[in-house]
Every structure is written in structure tokens, then in C-alpha cells.
């Protein structure tokens, strides 16, 4: 599955160019390998990346390897999902949430998926 994944792997280095300067709304999933609830939500993130391709960008940021960005946005729980538009955080969710909820938030920012 990994080779088909349409999400972007975010890092402290590429966060500005991929997220803050993105023309599309961006959903960022702050996660880590040791986080149980992150595993629950991981397949949903992959599905959303597929469904919203061309409309919104979906990114995953491993907080262990990219602590600066996590610190900068005050992330102290994972999974935390931040929704960015025009470089600003416009919505957020802490913990797992049903796909429907995430999709609705993305639709509000990006319109219906294709």
C-alpha cells in the first residue's frame, strides 16, 4: 500500500513549502510510531489522501523526528490533526475521529471530493 499512498511526508525542513505555502488546504496528521490511536487513524488518513487528491493536501508529520514543528504548534497529544489554509491553522482535532468528521472538515475547506 505504501507505494500508492498519496499523502506527503512532512518534515521540519519542508513544512513551510509543503504546508504554509500550499495553494490547497492541508490536513496535517501529527503522529509517532509508538502511538496506538495514531495507528487507528492511519488508514483513514490514507483514504482521505486518495479521495481528496487535487482538492486538498494530506500530510503526515512524525513528531519524534520533527520536534520543532510539533513544538511550534503546541502539539502535546497525538494524534493531533491540524487543518491549514493560506498558512494558518483554521481547524483542529485531538485524538481519533470518525472519517466522516474529518471528511466534513476537509470539505468545508476544499469542497466536495472528486
Amino acid at each position: 500500500m505504501a507505494q500508492d499512498a498519496k499523502y506527503v511526508t512532512l518534515t521540519d525542513a519542508n513544512f513551510a513549502s509543503e504546508v504554509l505555502e500550499s495553494d490547497q488546504p492541508v490536513l496535517v496528521d501529527f503522529w509517532a510510531t509508538w502511538c496506538g490511536p495514531c495507528r487507528i487513524i492511519a488508514p483513514v488518513i490514507v483514504e482521505l489522501a486518495d479521495e481528496f487528491e487535487g482538492k486538498a493536501k494530506i500530510g503526515k508529520l512524525d513528531v519524534d523526528h520533527n520536534p520543532q514543528t510539533a513544538m511550534q504548534y503546541g502539539v502535546r497529544s497525538i494524534p493531533t490533526l491540524l487543518f491549514f489554509k493560506d498558512g494558518q491553522v483554521v481547524d483542529q482535532l485531538v485524538g481519533t475521529a470518525p472519517k466522516k468528521v474529518l471528511a466534513a472538515k476537509l470539505e468545508a475547506l476544499a469542497g466536495q471530493p472528486a
Binding site: A32, W34, C35, G36, G74, R76, S77, A97
Partner: protein, 317 residues
């Protein structure tokens, strides 16, 4: 129930609500009995074990196993025999007549001959306004999820049971200092866990103390705590605040139909998982405030599947 058309609703002989050890064990048994149960995962798939680390007391795993790994194994085992796990949350039920009616995510109707309630319990919070505001920004109910954000920092945890002990000990891996706040002068946790906590150099217990408020604008900066004996109120500077004050059963959905005790635990008939409604069975933490173990939840999940199977057979006889 208004506005939802049940005319073409999907029908199952067995619908299981919740996917902790109870629900998934019920799913394994029910699937092996060829009922192809529909298992609706709920808002916290995998249940409380998803937020634990090592499970050391589940038989068959002599070296322990990670909670999330164990729940994946449960899922795989249920699916192997034809259980269908579906992401979604049951948002309303009508158990007043058979077939029972359920609505998933406020839009999808499902009908069922039997319902197995395995909705479990969820972590409780203190209920402070600043607690919900700062959730995810220093306030957490899951040390094993969030402890790593507090390397070399001071944190506090409130609680007095095994969960609080386990989380306090887990936090010692990261935090430089852990204040364990408890409103009484003794813990209700097991002796072995208490001993580990009380002998740990990084953990300081604040007995007879309550948390009055949480300070911080964007991130937690500290607590306002109160000595219940003297009434003295003071600030405690911490960057993280963990809540481990117990659990509450996820049974609100059923309160118009099922008999419960005053704290919301579903009452089952002795030596069974029968509820007051025929065809509805309850298992796991939704009906157990005494043992609340993965293995007891699995045990009652098995009982519920067998009870449902026999009840269905009696209906057809």
C-alpha cells in the same frame, strides 16, 4: 429515529457494538458460529487497550504484549471467521421491539435480531473548563500516548488507582519530575503498583490534594491545587497534566431501554450476559465495574456470543 427509512435497512442476526476485548471476542465466537456478525467499531476502536503499553497479565503472552498489537490480533482473528468490522459509531437505538433498530453515524439504518453491547468505558475528566480548553496542549488522559512530549519537564498526574500508578511510572521515562496528586491519604491501586510508585525517585506524591484549576494560555503552565485538610491553595508549575481518575461506562445510548445501576453500568442477569431486554446482551466494561480486565472482558464477550447463539436457536425452535 425520525427521518431514517428502515424499509431497506441492512439486517443481521448479530450486531456487536464496540471493539475492545469484549466485542472482538464476541465477534470471534459469533463468526465461528456462522452468524457473520456486523461489528461497529465506535469512536475508540480497540478500546482502552489502544492507549496502554505493555499488557503483562493477559494469559498466553509470557513476555507481555503491546495493547495496540493485541487488539490488532483480536481483529484479525474475528475477521478470519467472517466478522465484518465497520468504522462508525452507533448514534441511536430502538430496542423496544424486534428486530432492533440501530442508526450508525446518524444516517445508516441497521436492524438486528440480537445486539451485543460491548461499548466499554472511557476515561473520565475532572470537568474543569480549562481542562477541555487545554486538552491536547498539555492536558491528556493518556500518558502512554503523550508522555514523550514532556522530556525533561515537570508534569502532574491526578488519580489513585492502578491506571494512575501505571501512567506515573510510564512518565518517569520522559519527565524529570512527576507530581502524583491524590485527594485521599491512601491509594486504591494494587500493592505492587503502589510500591513501584512510592519507591521511585522521580515521583512525589501530593496526598489529600485536589486540582482546582489549570493555568495556561496556549499551553499548560501549571495547576492550582488545594490541600483538603488545611484548605490551603497554591500554584504548582507543571507543563503537563495527566488525568487518571477512572472510567465511566459508555452506555448513555441505551439508557431508555436497559436497566443500569446509578453510575450507568448495565445490569445483567446473574451467571449470564442477558439484559432486561430479550435478545440484547451486555459484556465487558459496559456491565462490569469490578474487574475491568482485558481477560474478563474477553470472557464475558464469549459468554454474550454463546448466549446470543442459544437465544437465536430457541427462537427458531
Amino acid at each position: 429515529m425520525e427521518g431514517i427509512d428502515f424499509g431497506s435497512a441492512e439486517h443481521r442476526k448479530v450486531v456487536i457494538i464496540g471493539t475492545g476485548p469484549a466485542g472482538l471476542t464476541a465477534a470471534i465466537y459469533s463468526a465461528r458460529a456462522n452468524f457473520a456478525p456486523l461489528v461497529i467499531q465506535g469512536p475508540e476502536p480497540g478500546g482502552q487497550l489502544i492507549t496502554t503499553t505493555d499488557v503483562e497479565n493477559y494469559p498466553g503472552f509470557p513476555d507481555g504484549i503491546m495493547g495496540p498489537d493485541m487488539m490488532q490480533m483480536f481483529e484479525k482473528q474475528a475477521e478470519r471467521f467472517g466478522a465484518e468490522l465497520r468504522w462508525g459509531t452507533v448514534t441511536s437505538v430502538d430496542l423496544s421491539q424486534r428486530p432492533f433498530k440501530l442508526i450508525v453515524d446518524e444516517e445508516t439504518p441497521v436492524t438486528a435480531d440480537t445486539v451485543i453491547v460491548s461499548t466499554g468505558a472511557s476515561a473520565m475528566y475532572l470537568g474543569l473548563e480549562n481542562e477541555s480548553r487545554l486538552l491536547g496542549h498539555g492536558v491528556s488522559a493518556c500518558a502512554t500516548c503523550d508522555g514523550a512530549f514532556f522530556r525533561e519537564q515537570n508534569v502532574a498526574i491526578v488519580g489513585g488507582g492502578d491506571t494512575a500508578m501505571e501512567e506515573a511510572l510510564f512518565l518517569t521515562r520522559f519527565a524529570s519530575k512527576i507530581f502524583l496528586i491524590h485527594r485521599r491519604g491512601e491509594f486504591r491501586a494494587s500493592k505492587i503498583m503502589q510500591d513501584r510508585v512510592l519507591s521511585h525517585e522521580k515521583i512525589e506524591v501530593l496526598w489529600n490534594t485536589t486540582v482546582e484549576d489549570i493555568r495556561g494560555d496556549k499551553l499548560v503552565e501549571g495547576l492550582v491545587i488545594k490541600d483538603v485538610n488545611t484548605g490551603e491553595v497554591r500554584d504548582l508549575d507543571v507543563e503537563g497534566f495527566f488525568v487518571a481518575i477512572g472510567h465511566t461506562p459508555n452506555t448513555d445510548l441505551f439508557k431508555d431501554f436497559l436497566d443500569m445501576d446509578e453510575t450507568g453500568y448495565i445490569q445483567t442477569q446473574s451467571d449470564s450476559t442477558y439484559t432486561n431486554i430479550e435478545g440484547v446482551f451486555a459484556c465487558g466494561d459496559a456491565q462490569d465495574h469490578i474487574y475491568r480486565q482485558a481477560v474478563t472482558a474477553a470472557g464475558t464477550g464469549c459468554m454474550a456470543a454463546i448466549d446470543a447463539e442459544r437465544w437465536l436457536a430457541d427462537q427458531e425452535a
